[in-house]
Symmetry: C2
Subunit: 358 residues, 2 copies
Amino acid sequence: MNSKLENLWEEVRELSLGTTPQIDRLHTPPTPLQFLRHYLSQNKPFILSASAATTLQWPATTLWTSTSYLLNTLSSSTVSLHLTPTGQADSLTPHPSNPDSLCFASAHVQSTSFSDAIDAIKASRKNDSSKGFVAYAQQQNDCFREEYGALARDCDSHIPWATEAIGGLPEAVNLWIGNDLSETSFHKDHYENLYAVVTGEKHFLLLPPTDVHRMYIREYPAAQYTYSEESEEFELKLENPERYVPWCSVNPYPLPKDKEKEISKFPFYYNGPKPFEVTLKAGEILYLPSMWFHHVRQTPDNRGLTIAVNYWYDMQFDIKYAYFNFLQSLSFCKPRLNDGDSFINENLSNGDKNHKEE
Amino acid sequence: MNSKLENLWEEVRELSLGTTPQIDRLHTPPTPLQFLRHYLSQNKPFILSASAATTLQWPATTLWTSTSYLLNTLSSSTVSLHLTPTGQADSLTPHPSNPDSLCFASAHVQSTSFSDAIDAIKASRKNDSSKGFVAYAQQQNDCFREEYGALARDCDSHIPWATEAIGGLPEAVNLWIGNDLSETSFHKDHYENLYAVVTGEKHFLLLPPTDVHRMYIREYPAAQYTYSEESEEFELKLENPERYVPWCSVNPYPLPKDKEKEISKFPFYYNGPKPFEVTLKAGEILYLPSMWFHHVRQTPDNRGLTIAVNYWYDMQFDIKYAYFNFLQSLSFCKPRLNDGDSFINENLSNGDKNHKEE
């Protein structure tokens, strides 16, 4: 009956995380000791309110609401723009040569001037009728301090209480400029993440690492979109040589017509405890602990943009990580084949071994 | 082949604890942040050298080497003395009515003047020929601040860097006065433990909570020794009503004649990674993380006494604890019955549910 895994999902909530979809909200910044003791050590998320003032003193809070300020400041910058037909980058999509199966599709990435990037984000529309694209300015390679270096003085270069607690500066700081069409599918990162929204809102669904089996992580062949400006069409091609990516199979927002089928495919996601739900508003910071599964959608500001900065700090690969890897190595029994409490061996992903984000 | 559990034992050592039987040794006290970041959050032990001076300034370090100081200071104190035939209290011993099976035997505890307690400890000899006893002055109920209150000013009332990191004073401080005949069998406590040796030496064997299956925790009927001063004999009686105690089955120091049999009974203990070994000398402090299995022996000072003080701080029942309970709920397959990677359901202990030490 898989009851032991179900007990684990419940116990971590009863002991530590809480049994509602809400997470802790702090109205003053934690001290480094409080952050370590109550959150980082416990692998437990929280929201820091805008009133806590960590971000209130950032020039970005006021300056970035002006698109002309951004355009002027970045007038000579080249940025990475991610293009996809539907706003779903790094996500599962029908396999190009076998539409009955899925592949893991990465965006078409192009270097462009910042003003062209803003135009593209504003011109985004879903490619439902074979034309159109969704653009998302982001690159998870420390882009805030690189491509967007001209904006760097507008935010703190790190989150002081996190830096002191962790004992080092962020490994990477990333900037994200998108709109409501872009969506990030469930995944986890091997970093401690401090995520600050500057304009607009971000909507997170969060599941703790103990819920790994509820994500149905499977290996999918990696594929890449290529966008042709001339034809305004995308081509999706498998990577060559072939590469497999372990990825979460669950889409938490299926179309109504697909809902029944999704529930029957992913019963442990749909029948288990509800994910934690966070709407992060401008000025708020989310502590998203390492190894937590997260799905992200966004609501734009009145210009049509959502802008966020996130700080990735190195995580500790300690006993929690060893427990996680062990847990992930176990498989659910198929409920219909076996109603005992056995775990069966399945050739699950080794994708974690490289200690990097999926 | 139970390879997943074996991988867990190895991985926690490779990632975090180290692959030798040694643990970290610090020569200056950690700051509260360092203690939280590198040890408490990671559930990782360390030794603080005597040179780190935390204990050097304790009056106990010099005063307690004088037995007459102790006798004078405690001249009006009544203390709890634990008497056993062989020095093994809270340990497995042949069942009184069925010597082919084992029970969990607790010491005869008597209240006595401190000077009688010291006499008894010094007169201890193993009851091999039906006479004699081993005495150990200890009581894990905050005895240092209660029974031994007259000595309390000789040590710090708490460990400052631990108190600041944990955010609260110790829940209990215990004093231990014994000699080389007393031994504490493998067990774990639901506390963060700071263990300071004042005179003599303590020898610990340590296993992380991830190794729980290597301890072969089973339910044993609880029994109690009663000692008669008149006959100088012990009687061992099962508790009434019957009570079962989950306890570690492994004795790490079997008699040579029993060694082969022990290895065949507890192969995962004997064939897995070696326990961490710590000899804690006078003035040294061990951070013994919550949920770690520990076995303790001692070497007395030149008077024949080992004196130690330990500080129990509340632990966090967080994701690590949930992972541990899940892990413990799984059972090894019996290697001879099943050579797949299955886990079978066994009715394992629920003894952890009370959040107290075994």
